[in-house]
Amino acid sequence: MKSAVVVFPGLNRERDMVTALEKIGGTPPAVVWHKDTDLPDVDLIVIPGGFSYGDYLRAGAIAARSPMMDIIRDRAEKGVKVLGVCNGFQILTEAGLLPGVLMRNASLKFVCREVKLKIANADTAFTGRYSDGQVIRCPVAHHDGNYFAETDTLKSIEDNGQVVFRYAEGSNPNGSLNDIAGITNAKGNVLGMMPHPENLIEPEHGGEDGRALFAGLLN
């Protein structure tokens, strides 16, 4: 299983992501700079968290319009798995690879804390190692994680089982509609999520609940 981490200027959780992929998958991912004109042949493309282009204009907006995203869109259409975490999720929605948008948190504040996530769909390429309804711990750290989609869109992603992670009862940190924390595209090979599973993969992190996501993807 080969993976690549794509880096835009201003991203800052790429090292955390590289470490997680390497520790759990056994081999280091390729690290691809946004200006590179080709992306190695991989089975998983990851866009990590951070503040691409300072999150200026709108979170993820500027990175979403880069030529690298055209390459990623193309791969996604061919069935390659794409994971966007935090800013990665924002970039994927801005690029139109995932429906909806991530707006400013309802509190208008950056929030970094541990939340409880409920697995809303364990039957995806990303969540196979979890079970439906399972509640896991996971940290969040973001300013714009308030998921919004128009009524029709929301209904269709709910009906299609595209909602994969929800903030469990009482722990929605940002005001997201339907407590949505992570969704896939209709085909199920692109996942975007606000929480940071890569920051909860070792006993020294205080828990390993994020591990199963990567373990499922990489093995």
């Binding site: 204009l57 709108r58 907006a61 500027i62 319009r65 801005e94 909806g100 948008v101 707006m103 400013r104 948190n105 309802a106 208008l108 308030n146 919004f148 128009e150 005001g175 509609l177």
Partner: protein, 80 residues
Amino acid sequence: MKARVIVTLKNGVLDPQGKAIEGSLASLGFAGVDSVRQGKVFDVELSTADAVSAKKELESICEKLLANTVIENYAVEIIG
């Protein structure tokens, strides 16, 4: 040539910033405000002197970058 672009949220789209401002105004004692919606303004300088082409260019810029048309509307105004 100068132009101003205004990007606002579509009706029905939740506006956390506007809501927070409403709340804040109420607690600051400004009672007469019924609603606030926040948007963005971009003051742009263009090298062209042709208003028609400037407007067209800006509309295309809005579609491509300045607005997220899933949730936002935009309006372009040439100032001169």
